[in-house]
Amino acid sequence: MARNILQYVFYRLLQSILSVFGAVVIVFILSRVLPGNPAAAILGPKATPENIARVTREWGLDKSYLEQFIVYFSRLIRGDLGDSYIMGYNVSRLIAERLPASLELVVFAFALSLVIGVTLGALAARKHDTKLDLALTSLSVMGFSFPTLLLGVILLILFGVNLGLPVGGRLDARFTVKTYTGLMLIDTLLNGNINAFIDAFMRIIPPALTLAIPLSGLLVKLTRNSVLEVMNQDYVRTAKMKKLPEKVIMYKHVMRNALIPIVTIAGLYFAVLVTGDVVVETIFAWPGLGRLVWEAVTLRDYMVIQGSVLLVSIIYITVNLIVDTLYVYIDPRIRG
């Protein structure tokens, strides 16, 4: 069994590399299809065609797309993501600077919604068709029906203005904190600055809630439905008839199978979240990947677009790989 899974993973890994290559090609083409180019974007309306042509030449963007792609790809396989035209920095450094902020926020939000979602969902399923179930499901529907755009705005004002709590950015700029991991919650602790930690902790709550409220709503509903589904399966009923203890049925039979769709959807959402949410990052001045990609696209900074989408696709495809492997693990019948 273990060897089969290894084989499966290896096989899938090969495919994944192909997918990543496909994403690289598509994004390379797509970014050039976008009207305008980085030279024009930075020069603004004052640029004469000659100025644009000159800067374009300086950045090697006057070469044919194929030539550009070959240059890009040959650097890429050596692990070099290229330099940002506009910032002059290497893209991997730009991404490395933003990734910790994104990860910190997303892991925080994801953990929050997973705990809330799965627990309450399982609870609702076990107490299905009771008042508690009704309350929980109503809350969950409301949770994921609430528009994030407005949620962010409301939470900013609620936390920042009404409650008078720190909001916006990752840390009060007046704190001096040495960077070790790039994760503010950990760095402040490593610095031994408890006040800075409290400040950083409070600042992560509103953006994390903005992401977590809809997601936990979704997970409550998903878990409830999935658990109910499994509870009505033949083998569970058989187990019930065998008078196995409820605990055993719940965890051994129900949860294990009910987790399949939860893992799928949750995995997908994690991948989507990691790529960053432009709106949330903008509202809460959170320097994550979402804004990096957004700024890169709106300035046509091709190398940054390519680099960050490459990262996104790697994350996404890895998460998918894990999800599919878990599938196989949870339900050995599935193996393609």
Binding site: G22, L30, V33, L150, N225, V279, V312, S313
Partner: protein, 291 residues
């Protein structure tokens, strides 16, 4: 025929959630129609006689029952015009991407092998492209409007259905009745349509209605960052995006459309959720058995 349809309908409406969802849906639809045909204001009408908008929703400012925005436009009129636009876009998105995703998922899951591999890797690629980048690219080709936003949302949401349907097909594929159908020599298409599809439908429908809500949220989000509807078109995301800039001084032009958007999304989620319970063959079975 008509009899059975109306009976089904009655049964569906017996589910409480569906009933509440339908009530919201119908009343908003009615309000929208009233607004379109009887509103004293056009959706882009700037009221020059208003001295210092935004006017708050109060009886003093009749007939602006939901107040005005910062340009002196009637929030009520705009919000319910937007209802038609947003739900219309949402329906267009889910029907298109749901159909495409269903087909891809069925084929991929049932046939497996190379077809499955290629299709799923394409889905992986599609989902790793940022939605707003796609929206800009499509706008470049087709010109900027809400149609581009719809197309880009369709493209980026197809993988969701495809993967979901594929996953379900995979678990149905090995079940006894499908194996039996195969044994009996039924054609692939027939097996998919007769045996796989019905198994897949309930969760797919749940997902579809859930995604209808998501589609509305997605469209609004694209408009919110300036890639969807254009001024003065009444669209929730655009309205919230503009009004949030002065929300501290005037909450209603941002919060009221947001509330209507919330209730709309809620109504579809309620209907979807209730519908799922109704459609689920196993659940009905169990209900019948226990009763």
């Amino acid at each position: 025929m008509i009899d059975s349809t109306s009976r089904t309908l009655r049964e569906v409406l017996m589910v409480k959630r569906v009933r509440y969802g339908v009530i919201i849906l119908l009343s908003f639809l009615a309000l929208s129609l009233i607004v379109v045909f009887f509103s004293p204001f056009q959706y882009d009408q700037i009221s020059y006689n208003v001295h210092y908008p935004p006017l708050s929703p109060s009886s003093v400012n009749w007939p602006y029952i939901m107040g005005t925005d910062n340009l002196g436009r009637d929030v009520f009129t705009r919000t319910f015009y937007a209802y038609i636009l947003d739900t219309g876009c949402g329906l267009a998105i889910v029907s298109l991407s749901g159909l495409i995703g269903l087909i891809i998922g069925l084929i991929s899951g049932y046939l497996g092998g190379l077809v499955d591999l290629v299709l799923m890797r394409i889905m992986d690629i599609v989902i790793s492209i940022p939605g707003f980048m796609l929206a800009i690219a499509i706008a470049a080709v087709l010109g900027s409007s809400i149609v581009n936003a719809v197309i880009s949302v369709v493209i980026v949401t197809v993988p969701i259905y495809a993967r979901l349907v594929r996953g379900m097909v995979l678990s149905v594929k090995e079940s006894l009745f499908v194996l039996a159908a195969k044994e009996a020599g039924l054609s692939t298409v027939r097996i998919i349509v007769k045996h796989v599809l019905p198994q897949v439908t309930p969760i797919f429908i749940t997902q579809l209605t859930m995604e209808l809500s998501n589609a509305i949220i997605y469209i609004a989000a694209l408009s919110f960052i300036g890639l969807g509807a254009q001024e003065p078109v009444p669209e929730w995301g655009l309205m919230i995006s503009t009004a949030r800039r002065y929300v501290r001084e005037a909450w209603w032009p941002a919060v009221l459309p947001g509330l209507v958007m919330f209730l709309t999304v809620l109504s579809f989620n309620l209907i979807g959720d209730g519908l799922r319970d109704y459609l689920d063959p196993r659940k009905k079975l169990s209900v019948r058995e226990t009763s």
